[in-house]
């Protein structure tokens, strides 16, 4: 099943690059959001299957808090893509059933592989 992906990333250039990679992996981007407020609005309007989440967002928002809300309100799981992934971050999102962690600068192949793996994880979960 094709994923509908919400990209939450405050750098638009990186967001567009991620969009290309999601499409190259054979899935669709439902929306791009650059902060917490727009991410939650996009989740309500577009009903994405998963989100690709940066951890430091515009306007001081934390991707971890946004990820928690997406999960608690919409059961949306996240693939985290950030320049500061560490043990602390992994622990804080462990209960949100994260779909993976990718450090920046990322390899395009990593992102594509992680999106494909996410599709399998989400699919097997919904059956």
């Amino acid at each position: 099943m094709g994923l509908e992906v919400l990209i939450v990333e405050d750098q638009m250039l990186i967001a567009i690059h991620l969009q290309d990679l999601v499409e190259e992996a054979g899935h669709r981007v439902a929306a791009i959001a650059h902060d917490g407020v727009s991410a939650l609005a996009a989740a309500a309007n577009h009903r994405p299957t998963i989100a690709i989440m940066d951890i430091r967002l515009a306007h001081g928002a934390s991707g971890i808090d946004v990820a928690r809300q997406l999960y608690e309100e919409h059961r949306i799981r996240c693939l985290f893509v950030s320049a500061n992934i560490n043990e602390d971050v992994r622990q804080r999102v462990a209960d949100l059933r994260p779909l993976g962690f990718i450090g920046k600068p990322f390899l395009a192949a990593e992102v594509i592989a992680a999106v494909r793996a996410a599709a399998i994880a989400v699919d097997s979960n919904s059956c």
Binding site: Q11, L13, I14, I16, H17, D20, R56, A83, N84, I85, N86, G103, K104, P105, F106, L107, A108, A109, E110, I112, A113
Partner: protein, 351 residues
């Protein structure tokens, strides 16, 4: 910085003695809290955050030396200065075990008021200096993390920009030029992603680094559209970071070459990348393909090995590694680079 009143915790089960100590310290202008047991002392040390504890060795529930040891091993209270106090008759033994348990100073009862005040002031002075050092260290660490974050984000922006711009072109030639530029920047940039995850920032594990890079190259769209089988066999080997980058750039150039020129016409392309330790002091990188092998493409073709940017980079980087490059044309084309491996100096985060 606002000057906070300094708090001293006075721990003694003997009431007259405790009263006398509190009186001396109050008169010297300090705010004093009191505890009569070890348990109460530990509780107050955590909740009231005093700067100094005047701690009697003999307490009803536990030894004052154990209280001191607990204070000094708990990160929340380790910064509190401890002045251990004991009666004269057993003072020598107590003094040794108190100081080994982490006490900062020691006095024998009965204490001279002037001496108690002077020692308290000296320990509080030390506490202020240590607190200031801890604060500036924490600030430095935060700054370093911030700079790291910026570096990685900026490199990501460079890569995203190149990728998006390369995507604008339709013709294969232009796309390939971009793919090569992206691959070269990736080889340099992706080391940062791996560098600070490790406890050791001075060296890098080549196994994850090179395996990731090769996976990236396999999909980079260099050469023709036919599938190439890129096989990696990279030993777990730590190299000093600067050598790691050089080696990654060499792998990048040789694999790109193999993808472009190393395609056999009548069988499927296989490219092997291996990194092995030879003996304690040397390692060898081998990149081999089963392509046409020789010359026509490489020596006579448009991209002369001696002149192209790729070959210039390879020669320069091999020299930088103090390594040797050997080319072999057997069943395909193979490049062997043998280079010395210095044992990376172990990283000591405390130094």
């Amino acid at each position: 910085m606002p000057v906070l009143p300094e708090i001293i915790l006075n721990v003694d089960d003997n009431e007259p003695g405790r009263y006398a100590t509190t009186r001396i310290l109050n008169r010297a202008g300090f705010q004093v809290l009191e505890a009569g047991t070890g348990k109460e002392a530990l509780r107050l040390a955590r909740s009231a955050s005093p700067q100094l504890v005047v701690l009697d060795v003999n307490l009803p529930d536990m030894s004052g030396i154990d209280v001191c040891r607990q204070l000094k091993t708990d990160p929340a209270t380790a910064g509190i200065m401890v002045l251990q106090v004991s009666a004269t008759n057993i003072a020598v033994l107590d003094r040794v075990s108190s100081l080994s348990a982490g006490a900062d100073s020691f006095l024998v009862e009965p204490m001279e008021p002037e001496e108690l005040e002077a020692v308290a002031r000296a320990l509080l002075r030390l506490h202020r200096v240590e607190a200031e050092l801890r604060r500036s260290l924490a600030e430095r660490e935060m700054l370093l993390r911030e700079v790291n974050h910026r570096v990685k984000n900026s490199l990501q922006l460079v890569l995203s920009m190149l990728s998006l711009q390369g995507g604008e072109f339709r013709e294969a030639g232009a796309r390939e030029i971009f793919a090569k530029a992206i691959a070269r920047v990736t080889a340099i940039a992706s080391i940062h992603e791996r560098l600070y995850q490790d406890t050791d920032p001075l060296s890098i594990d080549m196994q994850t680094y090179l395996t990731g890079l090769c996976a990236e190259l396999a999909r980079a769209g260099i050469g023709d559209e036919r599938h190439a089988d890129l096989r990696t066999d990279i030993e777990s080997l730590r190299l000093p970071t600067e050598n790691g980058v050089s080696l990654a750039l060499i792998v990048n150039e040789l694999v790109m070459n193999a993808l472009k020129h190393g395609r056999p016409s009548e069988r499927s392309a296989i490219i092997n990348v291996s990194l092995r330790r030879l003996d304690a002091g040397h390692a060898r990188l081998t990149i081999a393909d089963n392509g046409p092998g020789i010359a026509v493409d490489r020596a006579g073709g448009a991209e002369k090995p001696a002149g192209g940017l790729g070959s210039r980079l390879i020669n320069m980087l091999v020299r930088q590694l103090n390594g040797e490059l050997r080319i072999e044309h057997a069943d395909g084309y193979a490049a062997h680079i043998t280079f010395p491996v210095q044992a990376a100096a172990p990283w000591d985060s405390k130094s």
